[in-house]
Structures are given as C-alpha cells and as structure tokens.
Amino acid sequence: MSIVVEHLSYIYNLGAPQEHVALRDVSLTIPDGVCAAIIGVTGSGKSTLTQHFNGLLLPTSGRVIVDGLDVTAKTTRPEHLLELRRRVGLLFQFPEAQLFAPTIADDVAFGPRQLRLKDKVVKERVRWALNAVALPTDTEFLARSPFALSGGQRRRVALAGVLAMRPLTLALDEPSAGLDAEAREEIYACLDDLRAREGVTLVIVSHDMSEVAHLADVIFALAGGELKLSGPPEEVFKRTDEILACGLLPPPLAQTVALAREHGLNVGAASDAPLTPDALAPALAASLGAEHAEYGLNGHRT
C-alpha cells in the first residue's frame, strides 16, 4: 500500500504563543511493499510525520494519500479515519508499556473486538498474529499474563496486537530500542517475514543507522521538520556531509569505507556495495588482497 505525502506542513499549537512548526513542506512517496526508514535527530519531525500516516494528526496544509485515501483536515470524515487506521497499523516506541489486559489473548484481541468481529474470527486473528511474531498459540500461553513475559516477548505481544488488525502498512517507532541482541533479531525476523509473506509495507522510524541500513530499501532523512535527503541507504550514507548536517552519523560500515578512502586506501567495489558485512567483505578483500594474490601467483611461477 503506497503512501504519498504532498507539501505536508504541520504546526503544533497553531496561533498560540508556543506555536511550533514541526513539518515544513514535506513531499515524499513510499511505494507499495517497500521498507522505508525515517531518520533524524530528536525533534526533527519523524514522529509527527509518522502520525500522519494513520490520521492521528491531520495536515495543517498539504495532504497525505494512503492507498488512494486522501487525508486532509478538510476531507476527513470519522468513517474515513477508521478505514485508514484499519489499513495502517502504528507501533509506538516502547509499545509494551501499552499492554493492559489480564491475558495475552485478551490483549491481542482488543483491536479486532473493537471492530465487532465474530468471536471465531477474533480468535483466528489472535492466533495468526501471535504466529506472525513467532510466539506460541497454545491455550496455556494465551491465558498467561503479558506482564510475566520477557521484554522482547512483551514487545512482540504488543506488535501482535497491532497485526491482529491486519494492517496493510505497518509504521514502527524505534522497534528495537532497548532490546538485547536476541530480542532484536526476533523482531527483525518478524518484520522480514511480514514483508515476504504478507507484502506488508513497512515504515520504520529509527535512531540506529545500522538497523536502517540493514532493513530499509529507501531512507528519508528529516532535519528541522524538512526533508533533507532521500534514497537507498548505500547512496544516502555516502553523502557524509549532508548526513552530518542533519545531526546524524552514517552507520559504522559506511563511516569505515569513507574513512578508508580518505586514508588513501583502495576500497574498490566496497564504495558502491550495499552496507552489509556480507556484501562489503568480498569487495574489501578483493581490493586489499588483489595485488597480494596476484603477486603470490607470480611468486609461485618463478
């Protein structure tokens, strides 16, 4: 499901003394089925932008078109917003703080029940959603309290609660913040799976540039409420000066390649490779060891 943002501006407390322009003339397109990342420092407007994707905020000016549904302050009717929120799921930062029900089943079922779906359908959705986040679906587990789970599991229960609404687009604010390695990998695996199997469009808001480089197809960098940079990670993170001007740092892999180049090392194909260890290692090895290998061969011949 595509998201098109056209000349979007958003002003908090419009007309009041503490008026604050959070977004200024932002235009961008997130195509269907991709994983987009929104990056920027605290206060750059990332969360404000994300909250427009399911109508939690409505544009002060400009518009947001989610899968053909036009969201502007003027055109939006309540039923319109309801449909929008069905299509776009939003997972806030530290979503486990929003768990509230006595059992895991009740917590995940809360959303679908609000849609007045039949009990049988609700149950199916709960099982499907827990399955999608790689948690058990047996009755013993369903009857447990979500508060007795580990941090990573609680976050996945919160994610399941959003997924039970069967959104076509999922926007996640800092999905891995505060999780340990294992829990982080589990969340990433869930997201990869949702994309591959369900074709869910993902929008990730993140501080973690490595995470962004790893997950995203396209990056949008905000600074001071304006869109400063966009493109695939390996292109965006090459523009070091512009990234720094946004208050950000390229991920360590991009920093390393750039620094190596500055130090006069031949980085060869690593310059254009995707920013993953798997892609960079052969490129770096080839550029470093090429002469050496060639020489070794000659050496044997003589």
Binding site: V41, T42, F147, A148, L149, S150, G151, G178, L179, D180, A181, E182, A183, R184, H207, M209, S210, H214, T240, L244, G247, L248, L249, P250, P251, P252, L253, Q255, T256, A258, L259, A260, E262, H263, L265, N266, T276, P277, D278, L280, A281, P282, L284, A285, L288, G289, E291, H292, Y295, N298, G299
Partner: protein
C-alpha cells in the same frame, strides 16, 4: 593516529598510552544481591523467577581505570552499578569504596561524594531551572562556602563544555547537553569515580559520540575512574578493561583485545555483535587478518592500513 578522522566532531582513537593506575578505588567481595520483593525488581528479573540479581561478584577497580560493564538486559549490570555508591546494599558480601564499607550507613555521605552516578535519562537528576544553579545544587546542599560553590560549579561547567549555556534553562538544552549537565553536577563534588549507566541510550548519534569522547577525556585528563555500563560492544571497545556479566556473575574479564578475541562466545551471551565485528569475521574467513577488537571505524581503518602496508611490503620484498 596521525590524521584527524573527519567523520565525527570529537572522534575517539585508540588510547595512546596505558594510563598509570592507582590504588584500588572500588573493591567488591563475593557480592550477592537479591531484590527484596518481586515488585521492586526490574521486570526483566520477573521472568528469571527471582534468581539473585547478583550471584557472587568479586571485582577490584583501580583509581584512574576506565571499566566497561557489559551485559544484556537483566544480566545484573545496573544492579552492580547501584551497589557501588550505596544506592543498594549487598544482601551478602561487601562493597568498599576507597576503604569505606557501604554497609556502614554513617559512611554513605562520604561514599556518595566519592562515587557519582549518571543514568540514561538526565532529566531524572536535573533539579534546578538554571544550568549553573543545577550544578551548584549538590555543593550548596552540602553547605560549602558560597565562593567555593561558585568556583567548583564554574569549573565543572567548563569541564563538560557548557560554559556558553550556564545561564540557560535545562529544558532549552539538547539531550546531549542535558546529559553533560548531569555529569557537571556530579563533577562539582569532585568525585574519584563516575558511574555512567547506559549514558548514551537516549541520545542522538552525534551526541552519543560526543558523550563517549567526554567520558574518555575525563578519564584521561583528570584521572577520573569511569564505570561505564553499556550493552554495546562498540562503546566498550576503548575501555581499559571490560567486565561482562551474565545472570549476575562475571563471565568474562580483560582488555578489549582479550575479550573480543572470541566474538562468537559473546554472541552466546546475547550481546549484539557490532556490524564492524561481523565485517571483520567475514574478512578473516576470506583470509584478511583484521583483529577482532577493531570495532570502531578508526580502529578498523587503522587495521586495514597496517594490512595494506604489509601486503605492499610482501610484494616489494618478493620482487627483489
């Protein structure tokens, strides 16, 4: 490193010389800590069914040392940090701060002057509405003469680079600046040791690098003992010593080079292996001998340069 790395405002290279370490500042003797009731325990421990948060930790930290305390969520690292300035008292065993036993309540004032602490969220310890008042607060509360309060506060503000902001309100500062303000409040008391519990967790990328730089500067230039609690290997890469906790026990201890030599075993401790660590692994598999402790871009590029020089030399030597 000869050239200034261009990517970061305040970059951190390898320590140029081993610091001279002093007497034992912190001494832990078989420390066990059990949270008194389930409701007081961090939620991560609930799942662990009330195993003790610390299960027998013995550790010495010398004056001037920079120790990184690593571990995943719930490994006991924050509990250990809180035992070091008597915020928590051991269930059994002993914690000594420069000879003061934390079990002795009459020593707590002295201990907390010697060991300061900052957390992820600086807002939890900012008490005043003006930067310089906030830094002076701890001194004023202890009844220091006014002239000394001003002088020390001023020096602390300068040390963290906030002198341009001393008349501003803390809420006008950025997250990184507020974290530096929290450090200044601690420094004003002229402690021997600073405990930083995940100090970069809520900071933006550039502020993270600056915070790390500030901690190392305070350590190198003022001899401040640093206990840096973190779950990130790359933040520990420049420490003098790394201590890894798992289930309330020390499971690894040594210099970054020693501890990072076996990244695979750190993975089994649920630590996140930085992407540069993974890149190093892939390169080693391809026969490129990057040391496993090259976990920052600067260290990694330095290693690449050494290798390139080595290859060039081999080629040159062979051509003769």
């Amino acid at each position: 490193m000869t050239t200034q790395p261009p990517l970061v405002a305040q970059s951190i290279g390898a320590p140029e010389h081993a610091p001279t370490l002093g007497e034992v500042a912190l001494h832990l003797e078989n420390v066990v800590y059990r949270y008194p009731s389930i409701t007081n325990a961090p939620t991560s421990l609930l799942a662990a069914k009330i195993a003790p948060a610390l299960a027998g930790v013995t550790l010495d930290v010398r004056r001037g040392e920079y120790v990184a305390l690593l571990g995943h969520n719930g490994s006991g690292k924050s509990t250990l940090a809180r035992l070091l300035n008597a915020l928590l008292l051991p269930t059994s065993g002993h914690v000594y701060v420069l000879g003061h036993n934390t079990a002795d309540r009459s020593e707590h004032r002295a201990i907390r002057d010697l060991v300061g602490m900052i957390f992820s969220d600086p807002d939890n310890q900012i008490v005043a509405t003006i930067v310089e008042d906030d830094v002076a607060w701890g001194l004023a509360a202890r009844g220091y003469p006014l002239a000394q309060v001003h002088a020390r506060a001023e020096a602390a503000i300068n040390a963290v680079g906030l002198s341009a902001h001393k008349r501003r309100a803390p809420n006008e500062l950025s997250g990184g600046q507020r974290q530096r303000l929290a450090i200044a409040g601690v420094l004003a008391l002229e402690p021997v040791c600073l405990i930083a519990d995940e100090p970069t967790a809520l900071l933006d990328p550039q502020a993270r690098v600056e915070m790390l730089g500030l901690l190392h500067t305070l350590n190198r230039e003022r001899g401040l003992t640093i206990i840096h609690v973190t779950h990130l290997l790359e933040e520990a890469a420049l420490a003098d010593r790394i201590v890894i906790l798992e289930r309330g026990r020390i499971v690894r201890e040594g210099t970054p080079t020693e501890v990072f030599a076996d990244l695979e075993s750190l993975r089994s401790l649920k630590l996140i292996i930085p992407e540069l660590g993974v890149l190093g692994e892939r390169l080693r598999a391809l026969g490129v001998d990057i040391p496993p402790d090259a976990l920052t871009p600067q260290l990694f590029v330095a290693a690449l340069e050494r290798l390139e020089g080595h290859y060039r030399q081999t080629q040159h030597g062979g051509a003769q």
